[in-house]
Amino acid sequence: MKTKAGALNQGLIRCHDCGILSQLNTHSCPVCASHLHARLPHSLQRTAALVISGYTLYLPANLFPIMTVTRLGTGEPHTIVGGIFALIDSDMVPVALLVLVASILVPVIKLLGLTLLLLSVHFRLPINARFWTIIYRIIAFVGRWSMLDIFMITILVSLVNLGGVAQVIAGPAATAFASVVVLTMFAATSFDPRLIWDNPNAYD
């Protein structure tokens, strides 16, 4: 009953950009001239490729130092986790929690959530479509907040630039981490949530 309610089953395609409905065999939108697709093209393949790249880069992002803080000549490299421990050591637990959520939990939850979404669509698992649509919405919303760590490093690098007295230098993990954020954001936009509802075994 519920699959019949979809616009595609009635022979209609929704334009991704302006939302106007067109007949199934139309190629470009009559209003905004963008290409029409019933679903985002190769949604599963693209999302899977981006998610796998995200997992791969997540390792160097956490293993390599994200920045090196030099004070009066002695420097020590920090990883993302090390930065959080440094914040806890200096009694700034709320800020440490903020960084923990933004740079550790959010990327992991995004990658795992997208993986589960991909698996459930591909294997047509009997899932609650409404619940997983909400999960998708959360994944798409929180993604950008992971950039927090990158922006923080940008500020530290430009401010603490006093030669021998004190200096912060960005490390190789910054590039890897920024790539994880961008890849997962692209992964979330290339996943078409309507595929959750196309699954005949899903219920709402």
Partner: protein
């Protein structure tokens, strides 16, 4: 009343025109279809002009400065990008440049163009292109994430240096508020409707 489809679950809907103060949700997946706002076009025009003015002090004036052992140092949005670039972190530098300077500026310019043309009823063949880009670029402008980055960086610096807030920071905060109002004010459904009508009357 017009036929429409939910962008996230493809449910075919009979759309009624929603009134200001109402919210139109998809009955199946709960997606927010439309939240009409009072004078959406006029307010978007006003807010984007305000944003355009604020962008200059926010980008050019120092946001935060520090003082360590008598050495003081100011940081602007641009100096962070520049320092990262000169350290060889060009990928991160480009990403920070795009998400904190380029895309916020483009967003404001695009909403200015679109609302200007809609308000003064000037048809343009680029209207749908601008509106489409505006929709796609929205999530890549990350001023509010940058603000959180500034806060975390200041907390980290507070133990080793004296932190001073610059004039640019106030312009930056104002810009974030304007940007948030701009996003919540822009009624995408209404804008596409008006673009459609404007181009149709122009053709006849």
């Amino acid at each position: 009343m017009a036929l429409a489809a939910c962008p996230e679950c493809d449910l075919l809907l009979n759309r009624h025109q929603a009134v200001v103060g109402e919210k139109a949700h998809c009955p199946r997946c709960g997606y927010l279809l439309q939240r009409p706002t009072k004078q959406s076009v006029e307010r978007t025009l006003a807010l984007s002009i305000a944003g355009l003015i604020l962008i200059f002090p926010a980008n050019l004036l120092p946001l935060v400065g520090i003082k360590i052992l008598g050495n003081s140092h100011d940081g602007t949005l641009w100096s962070g990008v520049f320092t990262l670039f000169s350290e060889g972190m060009w990928a991160v530098a480009i990403l920070v440049f795009l998400s904190s300077m380029c895309f916020p500026m483009l967003n404001i310019l695009l909403s200015l163009f679109v609302s200007f043309h809609l308000h003064f009823k000037k048809p343009s063949k680029y209207l749908s292109v601008w509106l489409r880009w505006l929709q796609h670029l929205e999530e890549w402008a990350m001023l509010e994430v940058y603000m959180l980055g500034i806060i975390v960086a200041c907390v980290k610096l507070a133990s080793m240096a004296e932190v001073q807030f610059g004039l640019g920071l106030y312009a930056f905060i104002a810009l974030i508020i304007i940007n948030g109002m701009l996003t919540s004010n822009l009624d995408g459904y209404l804008f596409w409707q008006q673009v459609r009508q404007l181009n149709k009357t122009h053709e006849n």
